[in-house]
């Protein structure tokens, strides 16, 4: 009887099996790596309407974060400052700067500046700034070294796994409440201090679903 298949097909089943295993693993790896916020979201740096430099204000001038983001200790949101806050200084400093034209216009018309949001959580995740800031989670822990950013970008993945990294071991990340806005804070012995602070503030970071999703 004539052969139906050429000789190379002898190896085909083995190759198909091996190939499928490799492809399946590659798919899982690719989804895990390339679809994660760490790959897709970190480094998101939208163009802002006003070329405001955090590097100058928070870094060089050493302004405290809370000078502008005033409600962070009381509110879910670290608010974007009103134009009034900018004008506190800029009605005297650089009053005719080209870069500040939009701020002055806003000041005159009363129309707020449309800043572009950088750090976005999905609607199904509840997050409260006050709850974190008041027990000693530093600004930089989630937002990175803002004092070195000319234009703010997203420094951390803000993924659920990333949240849980801290919620499971808060003692590795918390700092004294007085140091919350400090940039580049390093504790001498983080673990010892962390355990102390966790006990002091009675930090019981929840890891059950409904703590953030409800």
């Amino acid at each position: 009887m004539a052969q139906i298949f050429p000789k190379w097909t002898n190896e085909a089943p083995r190759r198909i099996l091996l190939g499928s295993i490799i492809i399946l693993n590659a798919v899982v790896f690719s989804v895990w790596y390339f679809f994660s916020p760490e790959f897709t979201d970190v480094g998101y740096q939208p163009q802002q309407p006003v070329p405001f430099s955090h590097q100058v204000h928070a870094g060089q001038l050493g302004m405290d974060c809370q000078y502008c983001h005033t409600q962070v200790t009381e509110s879910r949101y670290a608010n974007i400052p009103a134009t009034q806050t900018c004008m506190n200084c800029h009605n005297q400093i650089q009053t005719d700067s080209e870069n500040l034209a939009l701020v002055r216009e806003s000041w005159e018309t009363g129309e707020p500046i449309e800043w572009v949001r950088v750090h976005m959580l999905p609607d199904f995740a509840y997050f409260n700034h006050a709850a974190h800031v008041n027990v000693g989670v530093g600004c930089e822990s989630c937002h990175g070294r803002i004092d070195r950013m000319e234009v703010v970008h997203q420094a951390m993945p803000l993924s659920m796994g990333w949240c849980l990294d801290c919620h499971r071991e808060p003692e590795k990340h918390v700092r004294p409440v007085s140091e919350v806005t400090t940039m580049g804070y390093v504790a001498e012995n983080q673990l010892e201090l962390g355990r102390e602070l966790v006990a002091k503030h009675n930090i019981n970071a929840p890891t059950y679903c409904q703590s953030c999703h409800y």
Binding site: F5, W32, G161
Partner: protein
């Protein structure tokens, strides 16, 4: 007092004195001859039903599970009932092919291919329901332990997760078992089919089978290993399905009798389904000599045994409800028999416990038409069993203030009927393109396969084929 026992020969497993060539022709000609018109008609109907299934699933994905009749106390409805029902049906195949194989029950060879195909398609129908009932279908991959950026991992405490693994393992092993058994028969069709395309397709699936000694050796070993693997699965799958209920603390579910009771019920319904399909197919395809009345009788005995086991479990549930002294447990069982779903309870009891008792009569056991009728009744009863378990316990649980009445909607019914479309579409394709009897294995149980060509002195004698007659010769 003394009584002498005579050796009673087993009746021949294949009737009609067919030789090897005959068997090959009888089974594989079905695949080789042109498609009959009747098949097209049946296929059109089942495809239509399949469209109903796909349509209702599409609408479900679009709208969400609100289109079903689920309400606040009854959070599980037809989807779970249908899942358990189909999985239960899927038990017969592997029981026949693996357990009966290990017990050297030669009669299984006539029906194992058939029953395994039924198993695989039934498990496919079953698998649809837990997948689509989750509501957010796009995150269904969360049931699998894959690494992800949410640091989420399946909850290994949950029997629902065990279910995912139990059913998918069962499906994989059943499928492999079925396929391994098919390889020699694929080769037979490859060698018999005329068209070049057919040779290519069947040849691909035959994996280069030439029937050499080494091939057979590998085949027998792998078949034995797979049978060994599949045997515990027959028991474990429905055990774990029963855990979906038993591990929760709902009255009427939280009982230790559930695993054996579910397994017995599964085998019960599976055998009934095999009988339903077998009785039709043996008639249409003229395989009465292979799937004989003896086979039907043996299967009816299993139906009688498992049906009585299920009946015993029903009685035991009532006994334990009383004996435990738990008020809620007592209440739920009284409500089952007399409450708002009493009609379903009594349908279940009639179909599952009373109807198989007819099979105490040998005459009825061997009556094909009656068996066909009972096999359908049994499957109706087993559907109602799952309905009674799932719905009564949920709709009347601890708090009378939260009780509610569950009834299905149009979409519940459409999805369920649609799964028959899926089942029969695959089954018809199976009947048309694959040999529905394990040809190679069946030849091994023919009387002709056991010739005695040499006498006591080692001299060659013409082979004499003795075909034992059944014990009770029809007079």
């Amino acid at each position: 007092m003394s009584k002498t026992y005579e050796y009673v020969p087993e009746p021949a497993l294949v009737k009609g004195n067919h030789d090897f060539k005959d068997i090959t022709a009888m089974v594989t000609d079905i695949n080789l001859r042109p498609t009959p018109t009747g098949w097209y008609i049946a296929f059109a109907i089942s495809s239509l039903l399949l469209t109903v299934l796909l349509g209702s699933i599409a609408y479900l994905f679009w709208q969400g599970t609100g289109i079903w009749g689920l309400n606040s106390p009854a959070g599980w409805g037809w989807a779970i009932i249908n899942f358990v029902w189909w999985v239960g049906i899927g038990h017969a195949g592997t029981l026949i092919s693996a357990i009966l194989f290990l017990f050297r029950q030669g009669w299984r060879t006539a029906i194992n291919r058939f029953a395994e195909a039924m198993t695989i398609f039934a498990v496919m129908c079953a698998g649809i329901f837990p997948a689509i009932h989750v509501g957010r279908i796009w995150v269904i991959y969360w049931v699998f332990p894959v690494p992800n950026s949410m640091a989420m991992w399946p909850n290994f405490n949950s029997p629902l997760l065990w279910d995912v693994f139990a059913v998918s393992t069962y499906f994989t092993v059943s499928f492999l078992f079925w396929y391994v058994g098919l390889v020699p028969d694929f080769a037979t069709i490859r060698d018999r089919i005329k068209s070049k395309f057919g040779k290519l397709i069947y040849g691909t699936f035959a994996l280069g089978w030439r029937g050499s000694n080494r091939h057979w050796w590998n085949y027998e070993k792998s078949y034995m290993i797979l049978a060994g693997l599949a045997t515990p699965l027959v028991l474990s799958v429905h055990t774990i399905v029963s855990f979906d209920f038993a591990v929760s603390i709902i009255p009427g579910w939280h009982t230790t009798i559930f695993p054996p009771y579910f397994v017995a019920g599964a085998v019960f319904s599976g055998f009934a389904m095999v009988l339903t399909l077998m009785i039709i197919c043996r008639k249409i395809y003229g395989l009465e000599d292979i799937m004989t009345v003896d086979h039907i009788e043996k299967m009816n005995i299993i139906i009688l045994v498992t049906g009585s086991m299920v009946g015993f479990a029903y009685a035991m549930e009532f006994f334990i409800a009383w004996y435990s002294g738990v008020e809620y447990e007592k209440a739920i069982f009284i409500l089952r028999a007399t409450g708002p779903y009493a009609w379903a309870y009594w349908i279940m009891l009639t179909c599952n416990v009373f109807s198989p008792q007819f099979f105490w009569s040998k005459k009825l056991r061997r009556n094909v038409a009656f068996t066909f009728f009972i096999s359908i009744v049994v499957n109706i009863g087993m559907w109602f069993e799952r309905f009674v378990i799932a719905v009564t316990s949920l709709s009347t649980d601890y708090l009378p203030s939260s009780w509610g009445y569950y009834s299905p909607t149009f979409w519940d019914v459409a999805t369920y009927i649609g799964t028959f479309g899926l089942f029969f579409t695959f089954f018809l394709l199976f009947l048309r393109f694959l040999p529905m009897v394990a040809v190679a294995e069946l030849k091994g149980v023919l009387p002709q396969a056991d010739p005695h060509n040499y006498n006591d002195k080692g001299e060659y004698v013409e082979p004499v084929v003795e075909i034992p007659e059944p014990y009770n010769k029809p007079s």
